[in-house]
Each structure stands twice: as structure tokens, then as C-alpha cells.
Subunit: 277 residues, 2 copies
């Protein structure tokens, strides 16, 4: 459940990225994230816990510094005990933006889940701090996290592994590396388990910037696939056996490229505004 | 996410039952549910959607009438379109209690998910209407629903299938037919995916009555197994491959029989009060 937050403060943005965002030229996603968090006054905290590589946090710190953020800290959280450290919590309290790196989303959820650091991220986001994440760091943001599942376009009864995520939003489920790893089937499976939630498939180098009023804009070089089950007439998910393909009748699908927007509350996609000649 | 509800109204109880509750003699669970919903003034609505048998709804209607409920209605919801019917919504609005029968929880979530009936159950529960459910009807109540998984006491990387549930509470995950079907492993797996949530395993003929202040009492002839990950020091879930047994160090476990209580907010189990001689 998203934290209710302080009523007088506006919620922060949620910025899931589909992985492999550009880090040298054309790094529009990371640039915009820094700008959102205050530009030259941005104080960013990087959480590299999803990754088992030693230098993931420092790589992002260098990147954000190149983009003129005022300060960047990397939280050294590699096991559950680290996520109780007072110094980590104090660092988070100063942030204008938090960024979760890629790696393994189950590593992230099993280390952060239920700890003071996870609670702090939820409360801070509710009170206006922006939270971005790429790949595993994108998957973990919603209440329901896609933890795994096979490739392919066909939904199957056992086509996805779900686990509880960070709970920054319960309005959508996020999948990443979407076209590169052919994941439409597992996103459809996840949405059809309980057709109340919007499915969002993020291509690599593509992000959504989801604002407090429930509207997101697409940023980056790929597309975002939205799966909306509002008008779903029929699903055979309840009677499908493991491995069976699942019938879904009446699912709505949008493919949105840079500049397009989507209103989650009203389930309405909006084309990019045309630039006048 | 649980519905916020009307601030001036107290939330209704949530009453998940582990299945196979007694229906002739010693039917303490159903008796207590009717009493909670107003006794001889109870107006109950039965939702038999999880079941594919024709008479499941009527069986419960007869039972609740035998227990002196004032009125019992069975909602004829067998496909998604039924869950948009105005007459079903009007019937729900009059209820003091709603009961979800057993069957297949994925049938329940795929038919009700995102429909006006699902939304009505959430809002009514938030505004004081009590919601009970047995077996599949118990599993679907929380935000995270156990949809399947193998038997056995050992948690395994692929030891549980989760799907989004009705979202009446996000404080616990419920499993049912717990000792009868040897389901400790899958409950431990579900909790260890993201150790913020309490796991509750309900034996057959055993229920919890979870009140608006976050305390539940155990009712019935079996026991309730509570799995609390608050002090979890280590989990190998993030590095386990499919089929691997998972190490969990520091999980807390309670077994609670009739009369024992549990405070979810403070994660504290309380023994039954002794009857004085």
C-alpha cells in the first residue's frame, strides 16, 4: 500500500526505467531525472543493493555528478542488517531523489523488505521525494512486482512469478527490458491474474515519469506498452493448467513513444503534442 | 491497497476461514460470523463465484438461515459481466456481512478483479461491513494472494504462486487447509519474497476474526500458524535457483489455538485468557 504521507505535501514522482538507459550521449532519462530532483541543487541517493557488482553504485554516482547534481551518496546496503543503519536513514532524509540500480529484484526485495530503509523510501516518496529505478529497480517499485517468468508473447497459466514489491504505487505493474526480452506474455499473465491493475512494459532506454496526479509521460528512445484490462470480457486463466496458453478477450493495448502520456486514473492514452511548423 | 473508507465509520471485520468449517454440530465459526453481522438482524450476501458447483451459494444461504440471519441473498456471479449488474450492487449495499465461498481463488480474482462488485466489497468493508470467506474465499482477501504452490515444509525459490487479491488488508498473507495440506513451505516462501508481511496459515475449521484495530482472535477446532519475518537476519531467496531449498535465519513462528490473539500492528501474540476456577 502506498504510504499516505503528509496531507499538505505533494507526492514525489515515480520513475521506472526499462534498463540499459543511455549513459554517454543522449542520456535524456538520467538528465531529466536530475532536473526533476532539483538540477544543480539535486541531492541524490543511489541504492545499488540489487546488483552484486562492487562498482554499480559508484558508476551512477559519477554519472549523476557529470550531470551537475549537487551531491550524490551511495548507500552501502548489501545485507538486511545494513538497512537498519542510522547513517543510511540520515542520508535518505536529506535526499531530493532516490535511485535504485538494476540487478536482481528479488535480491532487492529480500534485503530491503520490511526494513526501516524500505519504510523511509515509501514515506519520503509520499512526502515529495522522487524515486527512480532501472531494470530490477523499476520492477520493485509497485505493490506487485514481476520477479520472473519465461519470454514469449502468449500469456500462460504459469507465465509469471509475482512477489510483493516496494508498494510506491498499486495502480500499475511494471515489466522491463520489454521488447528486447519479448515479455508481453508475462505482463498479460500478471494483469489477467486480477484484472484491476494496468500493465506497463518498458523497453530499454525508456522510462515513464509518473506524477502525483496519476499521469505519466514517456521519455527515451524506445516505447512503453500499456495493457489495460478494463473492458476484459473473458479470461480462461481460472481453468488453465500449468503451461496452457490463456484466452483473453477484450484486453486493450497501447504502444506509447516519447512525449506520449497516459492518465492511469481515467485509463486514457494521449498522443504527443504536435510541434507546430 | 485497502480502501480508505469514510473517516467517521469504523472498518468492518475480516474473517478468513481455513476451509471445511463445521456446518452441522459445533459450527462455532459460522455462528460467530452471523453474530458479528447482527445475529437475528444480520443481512448476509453470499458470493459463490469461486465454486463451479451450482448449489454452493444455496448451501450457505440455508446454513445462515438455520443460524437465524434475518436475510440471505446469493449473488449470481459466474462471469465478469455479472459483476457489473446493478441488482448485485444494490443487494450488496444492503448487507451487514458478505461471505465468499470456497472453490478456486484464481477463478474469483479473474472474474471479480477490477469490477464494480470488487470495488463495492472494498468500500463496504472499509465502511463497517464484515467480510468472511472460506478456503479460496479466505486466500483472496489480502492484497497478496497465494494462488498455488506445492506442498511441503521447506521454502523453495519457486515454492509459491502469488497473484493480486482483493486488497482488504495488506498486513498479512493467508494460506488455508494449512496443516491438512502441509503448506508451511509455501507460506514461508511467500513471506520471504518480501519480508514486510505477516504470514497466516489457517487449518481447516479454523478462522481468524480480524478487527479494525489490527488484532485478530482465533476461532475453531484447529490452529493458526503465524510467520513473522520482523527479525529475519538472512535469506538466500535472492540467489536460489528454481527448486532450491531456501535458507531463512531468524524467522519467528507462533501456533495459536482458539482464544489466542495476535496484534498485527505490534507483532505480538497473546495467549488465551485463562478461565478462573
Amino acid at each position: 500500500m502506498p504510504s499516505p504521507g503528509t496531507p499538505t505535501l505533494e507526492r514525489g514522482f515515480i520513475v521506472p526505467v526499462g534498463g540499459a538507459e543511455k549513459k554517454k550521449a543522449d542520456r535524456v532519462i538520467l538528465e531529466r531525472f536530475v532536473r526533476l530532483c532539483g538540477g544543480e541543487e539535486a541531492r541524490l541517493v543511489v541504492i545499488p543493493t540489487a546488483s552484486e557488482l562492487d562498482d554499480t553504485g559508484d558508476r551512477y554516482a559519477t554519472l549523476f555528478e557529470e550531470l551537475y547534481a549537487e551531491a550524490v551518496e551511495v548507500l552501502p546496503i548489501q545485507k538486511r542488517q545494513d538497512a537498519y543503519r542510522e547513517d543510511c536513514l540520515a542520508t535518505l532524509e536529506e535526499a531530493t531523489g532516490i535511485f535504485l540500480t538494476g540487478g536482481n529484484q528479488l535480491r532487492l526485495s529480500t534485503i530491503l523488505g520490511g526494513t526501516p530503509v524500505a519504510q523511509a523510501i515509501r514515506h519520503l516518496n509520499a512526502d515529495g521525494v522522487h524515486v527512480g529505478g532501472t531494470s530490477a529497480g523499476a520492477a520493485i517499485m509497485p505493490e506487485h512486482m514481476i520477479a520472473g517468468g519465461p519470454s514469449g508473447a502468449t500469456p500462460r497459466a504459469d507465465g509469471v512469478i509475482l512477489a510483493p514489491g516496494l508498494g510506491l504505487t498499486n495502480r500499475l505493474i511494471v515489466d522491463q527490458h520489454f521488447r528486447q526480452r519479448d515479455r508481453l506474455g508475462r505482463l498479460l499473465t500478471a494483469v489477467s491474474f486480477n484484472p484491476f491493475v494496468i500493465g506497463v512494459g518498458l523497453d530499454e532506454d525508456t522510462a515513464i515519469f509518473l506524477g502525483p496526479e496519476g499521469v505519466f509521460e514517456v521519455v527515451g528512445s524506445g516505447a512503453v506498452t500499456v495493457v489495460d484490462p478494463t473492458d476484459l470480457d473473458f479470461s480462461s486463466m481460472d481453468s488453465a493448467r500449468p503451461g496452457d496458453a490463456v484466452s483473453l478477450i477484450g484486453m486493450k493495448l497501447h504502444v506509447l513513444a516519447a512525449g506520449a502520456r497516459y492518465d492511469i486514473e481515467h485509463r486514457k492514452a494521449m498522443a504527443p503534442e504536435r510541434v507546430q511548423d
